[in-house]
Amino acid sequence: MIAALNGAFDDISKAVRLHRVWVALAHEDIGDQHRRTTLGPLWMLVNYFAFVGTFVFVFVTKDASDPSYIAYVAIGMLVWFYLTETITMSVSLFQREASFIQGTTLPLFVYVMRLTMQCIIRAGYSLAGCVLILLLAGYGINSNWLLSLLGLLLIVVATPALVTVFAFLGAFFPDSEFIVGNLMRVGMFLTPVFWVYSGQEGVQKYAYHWNPFTYFLEGVREPITAGIFPTHALTVTGYVCLGVWALALLLLGLYRKRIVFLI
């Protein structure tokens, strides 16, 4: 166990030293995806506006005039898009990086950080859109935004661990790419991204309380929409973060040298 953890930390520290590699590759990835388009990466902002607008103005018309609901959906979508993209792309990570893994000695964590960086850059565009929506909805910048940033920071800290765990899952269980993809699509409706939980019984109650994603969302959302410090949400998110990191370190330590034989 100790040897495994040492191996994991060694891989991570080597990858951190090679930060120029994954930062450069992530930028190239983003650039390549929009290279020939007129708007370039701004398409990510457009996509975000389209989704938030659709949910606010089309699906939930009765609440559309409520600025707190607009903020609720805008922040919910920001966090959900980030999580769903990170997780679904992680499952096929090692397959996509097969030629690098089989042809170079780069540490495995370089690929984890490459995807993490990519997801963070993409989320940056949605974040700009979210800030704009919040300002237009009448939420002036105040100290509560700092509490929200704390929630975002926790999610960012959890990201490399989430990527690692789902990347190993995809390597050992290739079918998981489709299973996870479908679960995340369904998950949007089982997570309070655009619906508001106000003490209902039944499925919504369980989907709210027993869904870890709820706490990822609420940790960012509550400070701005409810003006409170999200103690419970941040505590649960913190525990989830610790658990996922423990699992990620274990997987990295035990299996990083075997991945090359699996892909």
Binding site: R20, V21, E28, S99, F100, G103, T104, T105, F173, P174
Partner: protein, 233 residues
């Protein structure tokens, strides 16, 4: 002092039965090689009891039929595969020429691809800058260097990949087949570059099916068969 020492190195992969929802008959292993059963598990014995020692100035040619373990041995020496038994001791900076086009991005310019390739190879930004003009000159791409890689002809792409891949100063050089690129005149230049590279490297390990090449370049020859050393001369 540059050296390589392998003692009873073996590499056994367990063939992971990937968890899958497909019918058992459709499951297939990801690897070839010498597959055998160990209890209920399938294992591949890729290298078996390989021992040899090389010192500065040695040029080792690896020969053997397909599946003999030549590429596997190179990847063990490079550190991509971790041996499952035996010991390896290597003194010196190891570089490898396995896939010279690895990491090249079609949308990026030639210049940007040199930077990316350098970063992947572990060069510092200063080293990349230092080698940049030399790589561009060697590849003879001229103004094309600032066009996207996808706009290059096959020959131009090969020239850039070759120039970037061979702009290294290894103490130990591992090669899976001798590489060449481009038209007749560039091939001559590439041959000279490879000769220089071989000359500069302290130790070379070259896997090839070309016996005459092995005779020309190498001072030692190791024949592998089914992962075992058949002869070392």
């Amino acid at each position: 002092m540059t050296s390589i020492k392998l003692n009873n190195v073996s590499l056994v992969y367990r063939l992971f039965e990937k968890l899958t929802l497909s019918a058992p008959g459709r499951r297939r292993s990801a690897l070839g090689g010498n597959i055998s059963k160990s209890g209920t598990k399938q294992v591949v014995q890729a290298l078996d009891d390989v021992s040899f020692e090389l010192k500065a100035g040695d040029r080792l040619g690896l020969v053997g039929p397909n599946g003999a373990g030549k590429t596997t041995l190179l990847k063990v020496l490079y550190g991509i595969y971790q041996p499952s038994g035996g010991t390896i001791s290597i003194a010196g900076k190891v570089d490898a020429l396995f896939n010279i086009s690895i990491g090249f991005r079609p949308e990026a310019t030639g210049r940007r691809n040199i930077v990316l390739r350098g970063l992947i190879s572990g060069w510092t930004l200063a080293e990349i800058e230092e080698k940049m003009e030399e790589i561009i000159d060697f590849s003879e791409l001229g103004d094309f260097i600032d066009l996207p890689f996808k706009a290059y002809s096959q020959g131009m792409a090969a020239r850039l990949a070759f120039a970037a891949a061979t702009a290294l100063e290894p103490e130990i050089l591992l090669m899976d087949e001798w590489i060449g690129a481009g038209d007749a005149s560039f091939q001559e230049k590439a041959k000279r570059r490879m000769d220089e590279l071989a000359e500069k490297a302290g130790i070379i390990v070259l896997a090839s099916h070309d016996e005459s090449l092995i005779q020309r370049v190498c001072t030692k020859k190791m024949t592998l068969r089914a992962g075992r050393v058949e002869s070392l001369t």
